[in-house]
C-alpha cells in the first residue's frame, strides 16, 4: 500500500482519490443546489464567511483530487482535459456551475412556475412571474399589426406562396438549373414584391396586379409561337400592350362599379405591422440591397472615373448618415421633391431607404472580398479571352462572394435588427407594436414580457440566418 499524498494525487490509490474527490464535488454542488432551490442552508452552523465559501472550497479540493492524468477512465480524462486542467480552470468551472445553479430558480419561476397564461384579462396575472396572457391576447396584433382580422389570410397566403416560389430551385430539373440564378436574382424579387404589395394592399390596385398577371400569362403562352428572332421585342412590347388594353379598354372601373367583380378590401400600408412587417421589410431590403451593393462595389473599382466617383459618393454618403435620419428624410423630405400628383407609398420609401443604406455596407464588404483575390485570377480570366462581365460573373465574384459570406451575413443580421427603427415613420413592426401595446391603459406594466418575447423571436430569426450562412460557407468550400 502506497502512502496517500493528497497534495499530489497519482495513480496509486487511484480509487481512494477518485471517490473522495467525487464525494466532495457532489457535496459542494448539493449544498448550492439546496440553498438555491429550497432556500435551505445546511452549513449554517458554521461561521458566516466559512459557510459562504464552503461549497467552493469543497468542490475545489474535490476537483484537485480527481485531477489524475491518464487515469484510464475516459469520462474522467475528458473532464480533466476540458474543465479541470489546472487549479485556475477548476475554480472557474466550479464558479460557472454554481452561477448556473443559482440563477436557474428565479428564471424558472419567472418564466414558468409563477407565470400565468390562462384567462384573457390583466386580472389573472397575480403571480410574481411573467404574464403570458398579455402575449396571448396581443399575439394577433404582434403578428399582423393593425391589419384587419378577417383579411389576415391574405398575409398568410402570400407568405406561403412566396415560400413555395422560393423552393422552386429544389424541384428544378437539370434543363432549367442554369436559369435558376436569373430566376432568384431578377424574377423572384419582382414577383415577391408585386405579390406582397398588391395582394396585401388589395383594393383597386389588386386589379392592376391581376391584369399584369393575365397579360404575362397570355404573352408567355403566345410567346411559344413567335420565332426566336423577334422574341426580344415581343416580350417587351406585347405584355405592356396587353396590360394597357386590359386596364383601360376592356374592363376597368366599370366592372368593379357594376359589382361583377369585388375587389379585395384596400388596406393601406400604415396598417400593416407586427412580425409580418418585420419579415416584409427585412426580406425586401435583403434582396434589394445585395445587388445594389454588388454594383456599387464593382463601380468603386471601375476604371471609368464617373462611375467610380458616383459609387464612392453613394457609399460614403449612405455610410456617413445614421439610419434613423435616412428614414426620417425618406418620409418627410423625399415627398417634397416629388411632383404634386406623384405619390410613393410610405412602406416602399422605407424599403428603398433601408436598401440603399445597407447596400453601402454590403458594397464595402464585397469590395473586401474583391481585394482579397490575387491579381493572377484577373490575369488568367483575361488571358482566356473573357471580357469584364464574363470575368466577374464566372471567375471573380464566385470567389469573392464565397470569401465574404460571413461579412454579408453580419450585415444582413444587423439589417434585420435595424428594422424596428421604422417606427420613426409610423410603421409599427413587432417592437413598434410592443411599444404600442405596453402603453395601452388596460395592459400597463408588461413591457418585460413583450421584450422577452421579441428577443426570442429575433433570436430565432437571426440564429436561423447565421446557421444558413454557415451552411453556405461549408457548401462552397473547395479547398482541401
Amino acid at each position: 500500500m502506497n502512502k496517500l499524498n493528497f497534495l499530489q494525487p497519482n495513480k496509486n490509490n487511484f480509487y481512494t482519490y477518485l471517490y473522495t474527490g467525487v464525494i466532495l464535488v457532489a457535496l459542494s454542488i448539493f449544498i448550492v443546489f439546496l440553498n438555491s432551490f429550497f432556500n435551505k442552508d445546511i452549513v449554517s452552523f458554521l461561521p458566516g464567511p466559512i459557510s459562504f465559501f464552503l461549497p467552493l472550497i469543497l468542490g475545489f479540493t474535490g476537483l484537485h483530487l480527481i485531477r489524475i492524468d491518464y487515469s484510464g477512465l475516459r469520462f474522467l480524462d475528458s473532464i480533466n482535459k476540458n474543465i479541470n486542467t489546472n487549479n485556475f480552470n477548476a475554480f472557474l468551472s466550479l464558479l460557472i456551475v454554481f452561477v448556473v445553479i443559482k440563477s436557474l430558480p428565479p428564471l424558472l419561476s419567472w418564466f414558468i412556475i409563477d407565470a400565468n397564461i390562462a384567462g384573457d384579462s390583466k386580472d389573472v396575472c397575480t403571480g410574481s412571474g411573467a404574464c403570458w396572457t398579455y402575449i396571448k391576447i396581443w399575439f394577433n396584433r404582434f403578428m399582423y399589426g393593425m391589419y384587419p382580422n378577417p383579411e389576415q389570410w391574405r398575409i398568410n397566403l402570400s407568405f406561403i406562396a412566396l415560400a413555395f416560389l422560393g423552393c422552386v430551385g429544389f424541384f428544378a430539373t437539370e434543363k432549367f438549373k442554369k436559369y435558376l440564378t436569373l430566376y432568384y436574382v431578377v424574377v423572384y424579387p419582382i414577383i415577391a414584391f408585386f405579390f406582397i404589395f398588391f395582394f396585401i394592399s388589395g383594393g383597386p390596385i389588386f386589379f392592376d396586379f391581376s391584369y399584369g398577371i393575365i397579360a404575362a400569362v397570355i404573352s408567355i403562352i403566345l410567346g411559344f409561337f413567335i420565332p426566336s428572332k423577334f422574341k426580344m421585342y415581343y416580350f417587351i412590347i406585347v405584355p405592356i400592350t396587353l396590360y394597357i388594353l386590359l386596364k383601360y379598354v376592356f374592363f376597368y372601373e366599370e366592372l368593379i362599379e357594376l359589382g361583377k367583380l369585388e375587389a379585395l378590401e384596400w388596406v393601406e400600408t400604415g396598417a400593416w405591422g407586427g412580425l409580418s412587417l418585420t419579415f416584409i421589410v427585412s426580406f425586401f431590403c435583403l434582396i434589394f440591397c445585395f445587388p445594389i451593393g454588388l454594383f456599387l462595389s464593382l463601380g468603386r473599382r471601375s476604371d471609368f472615373p464617373i462611375i467610380k466617383y458616383i459609387s464612392i459618393g453613394m457609399i460614403e454618403f449612405w455610410r456617413g448618415v445614421p439610419l434613423i435620419t435616412v428614414l426620417f428624410m425618406s418620409s418627410v423630405m423625399f415627398p417634397m421633391f416629388l411632383p404634386e400628383d406623384m405619390f410613393i407609398d410610405k412602406l416602399v420609401r422605407v424599403i428603398i431607404a433601408i436598401s440603399l443604406f445597407e447596400a453601402a455596407y454590403v458594397a464595402e464588404v464585397i469590395r473586401g472580398g474583391l481585394q482579397a483575390l490575387p491579381r493572377g485570377q484577373y490575369d488568367a480570366a483575361k488571358s482566356l479571352g473573357m471580357g469584364y462581365w464574363k470575368m466577374h460573373i464566372l471567375v471573380i465574384l464566385p470567389q469573392a462572394l464565397k470569401l465574404v459570406i460571413p461579412g454579408i451575413a453580419n450585415t444582413f443580421l444587423a439589417l434585420v435588427k435595424d428594422t424596428p427603427l421604422i417606427f420613426v415613420v409610423g410603421l409599427l413592426e413587432i417592437v413598434g407594436m410592443l411599444n404600442l401595446a405596453k402603453t395601452n391603459p388596460e395592459w400597463l406594466g408588461f413591457a418585460m414580457e413583450g421584450y422577452v418575447f421579441a428577443s426570442v423571436l429575433f433570436f430565432i430569426i437571426c440564429y436561423a440566418m447565421s446557421k444558413y450562412s454557415y451552411n453556405l460557407e461549408q457548401k462552397y468550400k473547395t479547398e482541401r
Partner: protein
C-alpha cells in the same frame, strides 16, 4: 509577311518613371519556338504580358496575327482568346473543378456546346496526363499537376500562340520535368510558343531561337545552337557562365 504572327516594333513601356522595356523589336514566325531568358527584372515577363495586353505599352506597336494592339482595340478579348498564356503561379480558378476550369472559357467565350467542350477538355487533359484528376479541385492537386492543368486550360481555347511566363519557377525540381515534358510535346505538335524560362535544357531541346534580355533591352537574339556555342555579347557570356 503572312507567316509573321507577332510583330513588335520600337516598343517602349514605363512603369511610372521607370522604363521597363526599351526599343523592343521582335518578329515571331508561325510555328517557331522562342525562349526568352535573362536575369530577374530584365522585363521578360512584362514583354510577354504585353503581347496579350495584360500590360499596356506606351510607345511603338505590337501586331498580333494581323491586329494591332492599341488603346481602342475593341475586340481585345478576341485577340486574347487566340493567345494562350500559362503563368508562374498557375492561376487556376480554385472554385471550379479541373474539368470546369478547362471548359469555362470554351463554353462562355467561344459558345461551344457543353458536351463538345468537355470532350475537348478531356482530350487536352489526356495529353498532359491528368485526365484522371478531372473532377478534383485545384487545391487537391500538386503544383506540377496544377501547372499541367493550366496548360490544358489554355489549349482548350485552341490558341494560335502560347505564352509561358516562367512556368516552372514555382515548382519542386521533381515536378519541373513533368511540366517540361508536356511543353516539349506541345512544341513537337507545332505550336507557336514564346517561353520565358531559366530551364536551359528545355531551350536546347526545343527552341528555334533564344533571346537574351537585360535591363529592358534585347541584348542578343540567335539560333539556339549559335546562342549556346558562341554568344556574342559579354553580358550573355557572363549570364550563361553563371546559369550553366
Amino acid at each position: 509577311m503572312s507567316d509573321k504572327i507577332i510583330q513588335i516594333t520600337e516598343m517602349n513601356k514605363w512603369f511610372g518613371d521607370f522604363q521597363v522595356l526599351k526599343n523592343i523589336n521582335l518578329e515571331v514566325e508561325k510555328n517557331k519556338k522562342i525562349v526568352v531568358c535573362g536575369p530577374s527584372g530584365s522585363g521578360k515577363s512584362t514583354l510577354i504580358r504585353c503581347i496579350n495586353r495584360l500590360e499596356e505599352h506606351q510607345k511603338g506597336s505590337i501586331i498580333v496575327d494581323g491586329n494591332e494592339l492599341t488603346e481602342d482595340t475593341k475586340d481585345i478579348e478576341k485577340i486574347r482568346a487566340e493567345v494562350g498564356m500559362v503563368f508562374q503561379q498557375f492561376n487556376l480558378f480554385p472554385h471550379l473543378s479541373i474539368l470546369d476550369n478547362c471548359t469555362l472559357a470554351p463554353i462562355w467565350v467561344k459558345k461551344m456546346p457543353k458536351k463538345e467542350a468537355e470532350d475537348l477538355a478531356l482530350q487536352h487533359l489526356e495529353k498532359v496526363q491528368i485526365a484522371d484528376q478531372a473532377n478534383k479541385y485545384p487545391g487537391q492537386l500538386s503544383g506540377g499537376q496544377q501547372q499541367r492543368c493550366a496548360i490544358a486550360r489554355a489549349l482548350c481555347m485552341e490558341p494560335k500562340i502560347m505564352l509561358f511566363d516562367e512556368p516552372t519557377s514555382a515548382l519542386d525540381p521533381e515536378m519541373i520535368k513533368e511540366v517540361l515534358d508536356a511543353m516539349v510535346n506541345l512544341a513537337k505538335a507545332g505550336m507557336t510558343m514564346i517561353v520565358v524560362t531559366h530551364e536551359m535544357g528545355f531551350a536546347k531541346e526545343v527552341a528555334d531561337e533564344v533571346i537574351f534580355m537585360d535591363e529592358g533591352m534585347i541584348v542578343e537574339r540567335a539560333e539556339t545552337k549559335e546562342f549556346f556555342a558562341n554568344p556574342k555579347s559579354d553580358r550573355t557570356k557572363l549570364f550563361l557562365s553563371q546559369i550553366l
